[in-house]
Symmetry: C2
Subunit: 333 residues, 2 copies
DNA sequence: CTGAAAGCGCTTACAG
DNA sequence: CTGAAAGCGCTTACAG
């Protein structure tokens, strides 16, 4: 498995590198190259197991056929399944994904953006911390398509694909209320993200304000040690006599359940629970957990659609802003 | 954000590209370049927000600072957390991960290997389908370090990091037996993987053979529709009067539980369950699930260690074969 | 201490 | 129909 270069192919086929290159790039017909010549080049390339050196190709084409994707945490099932769907969509293209986790950290995200740019990614997909929006806009304006997904900021002009966070929580609140619950708690994160603000606003407006609640059943906990904080918040709300709890993310739901189990509190008998964000296991363990489903496959598809549109029609500056309607899946929690 | 190249930096700093390049690569001192000159170059590069073009650098260095990782499915929590740990370990290096899912498919895996090679990855990490071992060995011998993880084949000379599959299942069998179970079922996959064979052999030798079991409580189901098949297998085993079930992977366990829940079969009262492969939720929902834990962080660390050793000491041809001892976590299932 | 120049392996206008 | 040659943006032996 010696490195076989275009030059080698050209020599063996007794043609110029130009010809070899054209044939191998499928431009043989376009350049009206002899069928026989084409076949010969192709055959030799195959025999020698020729793999064009992508670095060289990238350099001269100015394209790398790679898309950078930055998420808070690739170990999070939500993000990993988006990555999976992206990958599947790209499977029969020449594109590949370069992966990075920001851990919700501004500096780390910035590093990743810069590193990916240095690597000349053709596009950037980011579930952003929202703290590098300026940089991302510069990048986007400089010609490298940037698409935000999962999180965006209303003041930013960047294209995005998100789920309607407000609507999602509203559905949860309405569902619980209609099920007869008056004391509905909410456990969320204190992250400064628009998505989070929207979810919390939905809870406030559709529950607290609407029913003029006096007691504050809402908790916004620290992201850094959300596991324990979440469990503690559950206990607090329980003490306050809450009869239902909405969790802002699937992993908060998981930790909330953990606490209920540890406390021996029965759900939904003693307290109902509902999750923004579905999880594979919510329809496995008993009782099944009511949740807002975020359509990962659609998110992935739309992201790529926007990217490829922007990569082809440079003129088409229609900033695509897509807000998907999340679905309420009523189960028995 | 115009593209600023080395040339631009060199001009502004009034030095040659050679000098600029050396300084920016931290080789200024080595080449005894004037402190003042160095500062000037560095300052200008910073001002202009210089990002060296990685394609060009790759081409001339013959290195890409990227590691290809191929897993069966990045949406699988086990693989995504390995990817996460790899990424964290690499966070302060210049390395990044190029990601691919093979879906247990030989052709797809081969495509990924070839595509990654064309992209000149510096190393390849693969949880292989075991069907491209020859190719992988060629790659490895050609100087690009290949490390298998999670799966390997005894006949292959490739370095690997795996967990002791045999020991893992043995621990599960022994644990269940010591807990008083005589009728222990086993639900696994019919994939032709050494890891799988080892697990099944452990069950056969340490349970079936050892206790001379007449009835076959073992099921090896199709990977392609494992969800339904697994649920069906659970029902079958239950009918046979099995009092405990060992699941070969964490996702089989999940689907097994789903079936028990649907059937209204109580665990561990009616049937005990144990999982090869831990999962975040096993210690959340009640009852907690007894499982064999595969140390993802150690796997990630060892993979990189082997890779970097091989990348630095080309002579050191010690094929590293590491088998990690998996831990039995006894919970109440 | 610093620079001119070759080279990495492709692609692609240009010429014939 | 096909080729010679410039160029992509770096790195690095070599020379001084």
């Amino acid at each position: 498995m010696k490195k076989v270069s275009l030059q080698v192919i050209a020599q063996k086929a007794e043609v110029s590198m130009t010809t070899a290159s054209m044939v191998l790039n499928g431009k043989g017909d376009k350049h009206k190259i002899n069928k026989t010549t084409q076949d010969k080049v192709l055959r030799i390339a195959k025999e020698l197991n020729y793999r064009p050196n992508a670095s060289a190709r990238n350099l001269s084409r100015g394209k790398t056929m790679t898309i950078g994707i930055i998420v808070p945490n690739i170990a999070d099932s939500y993000y990993s399944s988006i990555a999976f769907h992206l990958e599947q969509e790209l499977a029969h293209s020449e594109y590949h994904l370069l992966l990075g986790s920001s851990l919700e950290d501004q500096a780390k995200e910035e590093e990743l953006i810069n590193a990916f740019l240095a690597r000349q990614v053709d596009a950037l997909l980011v579930a952003t911390t929202q703290q590098n929006l300026e940089l991302l806009e510069k990048v986007n304006n400089s010609g490298i398509p940037v698409v935000l997904f999962d999180r965006h900021h209303p003041n930013s002009q960047l294209p995005y694909i998100i789920v309607d966070n407000y609507a999602g929580i509203k559905k949860l609140v309405d569902h619980l209320y209609q099920s007869g619950h008056k004391a509905i708690g909410y456990i969320g994160l204190d992250l400064d993200l628009h998505a989070i603000h929207e979810r919390q606003r939905a809870y406030r407006e559709n529950y607290m304000d609407r029913f003029n609640m006096q007691t504050n059943y809402m908790r916004a906990i620290e992201y850094d040690n959300y596991a324990e904080s979440c469990q503690q918040a559950v206990s607090e709300l329980l003490t306050l006599g809450v009869k239902a709890i909405i969790f802002e993310t699937h992993y908060l739901t998981l930790h909330g359940i953990k606490q209920l189990v540890e406390l021996g509190v029965n759900y939904p008998d003693t307290v109902s629970i509902a999750s923004f964000g579905d999880h594979e296991v919510f329809s496995i363990f008993s009782p099944h957990i009511t949740a807002i489903d975020q359509p990962v496959d659609r998110i992935a598809k739309e992201c790529l659609k926007v990217i490829f549109e922007r990569m082809t029609n440079r003129e088409n500056e229609t900033t695509s802003k897509i807000k998907l309607e999340p679905e309420l899946i009523i189960r028995n929690s």
